[in-house]
């Protein structure tokens, strides 16, 4: 009995904390989405999935780790993108100041870019050069970045090098290439091989 009486205040405290936690979770769920939160979530996601390109100006830092261009992962990217698009449509920007409306349109533009890459002009299906970029350019970007040459950077370079065979297998499965595009990729690789004195 004594134990029961002693446990009662503890139980009450526990229930109070639980109630507070549930209230907090419930209010977090019902809080409207914000442009800032959507932008931040999208940037984190994009850094993980954004394809490597020959673009001469690095637009954003790529997140580290293994890349995967399998059908399943592309399907997952589509689902994620659809969720971002839904969140964007649910923002109520009518009464925002112009600068914030412009930011909102910029997010729409960034989302449209992903839709373009995945579905409108899916280079991952059509263009072998896309996979040269996901392998050779990914490695090159890691090697060419300015100092310092940290252990993390060395690790990332190894990850990218070890990732190459898997990406090339995915390329073989995904690609239905246009012949001229295949010629372009082969020509590029041959020129790089010549530049390296035929050692590649």
């Amino acid at each position: 009995m004594e134990l029961c009486y002693a446990a009662q205040p503890m139980l009450q405290s526990f229930l109070a904390v639980l109630l507070l936690l549930l209230c907090t979770l419930s209010s977090a769920q019902s809080m409207p989405d914000s442009l800032e939160q959507l932008s931040s979530d999208f940037c984190t996601w994009r850094a993980r999935y954004r394809p490597f390109t020959f673009d001469d100006v690095p637009r954003m830092e790529h997140a580290g780790g293994v890349r995967d261009w399998s059908e399943e992962t592309v399907a997952r990217q589509r689902l994620d993108l659809a969720a971002f698009e839904r969140r964007w449509k649910e923002l109520h920007s009518e009464n925002w100041p112009v600068a914030k409306k412009v930011d909102c349109q910029l997010v729409a533009s960034a989302l449209a870019r992903v839709r373009w890459e995945l579905d409108v002009y899916p280079r991952w299906r059509l263009d072998p050069m896309f996979y040269v970029e996901q392998t050779v350019v990914a490695l090159q970007e890691g090697l060419m970045a300015p100092p310092p040459f940290s252990a993390e950077r060395a690790h990332e370079i190894v990850v990218r090098a070890e990732n190459i065979p898997a990406i090339l297998l995915q390329a073989r499965s995904n690609l239905k290439p246009v012949q001229a595009f295949a010629g372009l990729a082969i020509g590029f690789l041959l020129r790089r091989n010549d530049d390296a004195g035929g050692s590649l």
Binding site: V98, A99, K101, S109, R123, A180, G187
Partner: protein
């Protein structure tokens, strides 16, 4: 006529075909920035300062000119038109 050997021409043609919109974006971007410059000049009259205009464009980085025009000049006609076309 652009002086170019056949191999370079084929490579260029294939390269631009592989990135639809890339080549024409150079020209469209040029036309858009010229239009924005002209509208800014008309808006500001004698107050117009080319250096200030250049700084504002560069400071805003790699963004669509239609959006830059909305923010800097307060003109949203191009954004509205683009959104209509996207419907």
């Amino acid at each position: 006529m652009v002086p170019m050997d056949r191999k370079s021409a084929e490579t260029d043609a294939t390269d631009y075909a592989a990135s639809p919109g890339l080549g024409i974006a150079y020209e469209i971007g040029k036309l858009q920035i010229e239009r924005m410059l002209a509208r800014r000049r008309l808006q500001q009259g004698a107050e117009f300062n080319l250096r200030e205009f250049q700084d504002q464009v560069w400071m805003n980085g790699n963004v669509p000119f239609s959006l830059l025009q909305w923010e800097l000049l307060g003109l949203d006609d191009e954004v509205k038109r683009a959104n209509e076309l996207a419907q």
